[in-house]
Amino acid sequence: MSAKTPIEELEQRRRWAEEQGGAANVERQHEQGRLTVRERIAGLVDKGSFQEIGKLTGSEAYDGLTLKNVTPAPYVMGLAEIGGRPVAVGGEDFTVRGGTTAALDKRKGGQGGFAEDMAHHYRIPLVNLIDGAGGSVTSAKRRGHAVFPGVDSFDRSIDLLGEVPVVSAVLGSAAGGPAGRAILSHWSVMVKGASQIFAAGPAVVERSLGQKIGKEELGGPAVAVDKAGAIDNVAESEAHCFALIRQFLSYMPQNVWELPPVVSSDDPVDRCEDALLSIVPEQRRRAYDMRRLINLVVDKGSAFEIQPSFGKALVTCLARLNGHPVGIVANNPMVYGGAMDGPAARKQVRFVELCDMFHIPLVFLVDVPGFMVGLQAEQAGVLRDGMRAVYVASQATVPVVTVVIRKCYGMAGMATCHKRGLEFRVAWPSAEWGSLPVEGGVAVAFRREIANAPDPKKREQELEEELRAYGSPMRTAAAFGVEDMLDPRETRPYLCRFVALAQTRLKTELGPKLKAGVRP
């Protein structure tokens, strides 16, 4: 080493960094069907855009005064571009000591560190590529004392959620700290068959509870995504995962002080699909495909569904209308008739907050019979979850247009409107609304009259008929109780116009949104 010029030494140290944890460990990573962190970054960002920072970090091995080798620090990070826009990106290098923490003068990233600080300082999105095991009891032996929780603070990661888009990809088995950090994101994704996430892994679970369970069974997508909603989406492969991350960020502004990017669209604004006329079945009990409806309205191919397998009574999509990003919140009549249960409410809360934070106008496509009813729903806390959706909708300041497709009932219906804003609601002719549906409502309100009638069943039917006649949405429109009725085919041009109009308003509200109050 000593014979080398400083430039040669720099080049040598960079080569050692490129070697990561050594050929054997890189091969083991590949055998697991996983990419190395450097391959991941290359696959994610615009070609050639990665400017690594802290490449020389690592533990040096000397023979006397001669440097023999540097084992790189197990975290790779830097500045890159996605879709031509700068992002901070970082991830654990699993090939170096399983991606555990390094003893450097300051942290490179992961649980706070330079990558997070850079996202904060330059106001650019952060992408976490998570593949690390988190804390280990062995660190206590090394340090000579046990570390108090929070020595690596989450505060920066928490503050970033109000500043710039944060995306986390879980690419290995994440437990403890790395698992927690994945949750501190605006959007998260994991890879089918390759990623698991849990508060604690199988060994800890067996020791604590005597439960024998595999890591896929405990924290694979079937649990973490479909049941828990802890992670938002599932990718089929790492390459697919990177494509999804790029797509998610394409709807997002760089930070809360900017508007989301508008792209040019070749889908005509006045595309009025005849299929919309017949999409809602005449039979009131019959469901239809809400995703199909969404795709007929938004720019072709622009819908990006968030949490497609969680809280399935609701569909949430980022999409575009004439190139303007928009958040679609739609009830899904295929699942519980679209009734809002706990998971659907939590999904709506999170999505509405995401869109509000990043100045993305909201469009509600409403077909909700109300909160989910029954013992199970009550035990699961549907009232609190549901009212949180009402609360968050009330606090949002981003422009909202509500389109009632069919049912709009009760408090779940309230959560689809923006009374504090313009309270702009339009409806299709298939729309119906009220405090609660006529069926069931009549039985409660006219209980005595029905019971005392000579033919109670008949009287109930008569009353239902009578009240249903008042239910025509046109009557409410005549009273300006909704602002307009649409021919379903007009939905796209109508929404395009108001989403474009919203841009002017959005510019006046740039910056972080601080909200007071204790959410129910």
């Binding site: 299929a275 079945p281 019959r286 199909r292 295929m334 519980y336 008739g337």
Partner: protein, 74 residues
């Protein structure tokens, strides 16, 4: 030509089968109607082609994600 399985979106029972094997089918056509939570849930083709198999019978219970029909795409 590819065989695409059409899955049920919900757990429920098969109420009415609307099409028969051999029928030409387009994206958006209703193959059968399920009943779940007092709602009629149509099973809708996501493909153009020919309906080549129906894997369930009327009144049979089905679960979410279960394949209920097969479409051969054109």
């Amino acid at each position: 030509m590819a065989r695409e399985e059409i899955q049920s979106e919900v757990t429920g029972t098969v109420w009415k089968i609307e099409m028969k094997v051999g029928d030409a089918i387009s994206d958006g056509d209703t193959i059968m109607i399920l009943e779940s939570m007092k709602m009629e849930i149509p099973v809708i083709s996501t493909e153009d082609g020919k309906l080549v198999e129906i894997l369930v019978k009327e009144e049979q219970p089905v679960s979410e994600g279960q394949a209920v029909a097969v479409v051969e795409t054109a």
